[in-house]
Symmetry: C2
Subunit: 222 residues, 2 copies
Amino acid sequence: MRSSKRETRKNDPDKTKEDILAAATEEFAALGLAGGRVDAIAERTKTSKRMIYYYFGSKNGLYLAVLEKAYSQARTYETDLNLAALEPIEALRKLINHTFDHDEASPDFVRLVMNENIHRAAHLKQSKVIADFSVPALTALDDIIRRGRETGVFKHEIEAVDLHMLISSLCFFRVTNRHTFGTIFQCDLSDPETYRRHRQMASDTILAYVTSDCSTAQKTDP
Amino acid sequence: MRSSKRETRKNDPDKTKEDILAAATEEFAALGLAGGRVDAIAERTKTSKRMIYYYFGSKNGLYLAVLEKAYSQARTYETDLNLAALEPIEALRKLINHTFDHDEASPDFVRLVMNENIHRAAHLKQSKVIADFSVPALTALDDIIRRGRETGVFKHEIEAVDLHMLISSLCFFRVTNRHTFGTIFQCDLSDPETYRRHRQMASDTILAYVTSDCSTAQKTDP
DNA sequence: GTCTATATCCCGATAGAC
DNA sequence: GTCTATCGGGATATAGAC
């Protein structure tokens, strides 16, 4: 019932907020919180700097909003993959492949997370909704692990959180460290051929681990 | 032969530079390049802000010096491990364990690398000496891979660069993403028990991969 | 080589009209 | 709700004495 007299597309608060958030995501992902400029964000937007403060209160408030939006978009695909219909091994491979593709396709998200870790997650800890994002990831893995153990194809005992970390490690690093790694080793990690090889390697590695016998390689220390 | 008349520890340029570098490393690692303050660095130092500009020219110059020093310290341990004396599997495990321990013990280095990736390695690319750091890491791995293939214990073909990335991924992620991961999944990745479990998991995972038969798990796509 | 004081600019935040 | 203009703090960098 809002503004029924006026249907001109001016004064659309939701669209304005979305517009600001999109611009701020780019800016903060590219330059970090301290490096990002409110002026620059305003310039990318159809609206003005005054509106940023009107809607988000402060630079920090805007940054937190960007962070929450990025996380909420990132943690939704697990439930859409229909993993329960697949055998454990294929389900796990599908989940790894999707995580790999997602991280590769979301450099802004990856950079925001990196930046937030530099701040020791100080802003993320303020968020009230962020704990919910762990649920879909872990329940999907719990189910895969349980079925894999039951049918006997998974030889290694492993917790869902640890498996999730393993997957994240292999998918994330390529994206987060792309530039320093590429500079030092003179290679281009965004090359499609490299991309395919690493994707195969990621799932092969994790599957080799969960299906391997625990007693093969044990020595712990030098 | 420098300053032979005066042996008082005042006016020691090398020590002053080291002092500044150490303080700057902490500051930039904690807050990033844009977030770090030259004033704050000067306060941590025995010397003054003026000296920072005297020795390093600018904030960016100081940052680059910090970066080069961090990398040169990080990439030296491969040659000290005497890996050639060990069988391939044990050599690889020892290298992984050492990398794992090194990354865990060098949060400042890890954060600097993270920060530099946010800047798309713009500063690292300016450095002339940085390419040399790839050599020890790759030659050590080349040797291990060659011997592993000869004796037949390594079933998987793999390039040294890819293996290095695999190792780095598993060792780095725990440290880089410690805070966001810990916040979302309510766990403490710096806990010693977790540390041991993940260390074991890292080497078990990579060894499972290189010793696994290539033909076991092949399906590529969903 | 080292200090204090300061120039100069930039950025986050706000005022106030419409 | 949206705009322009601007304040005030703080940061990089420098000046100039010793």
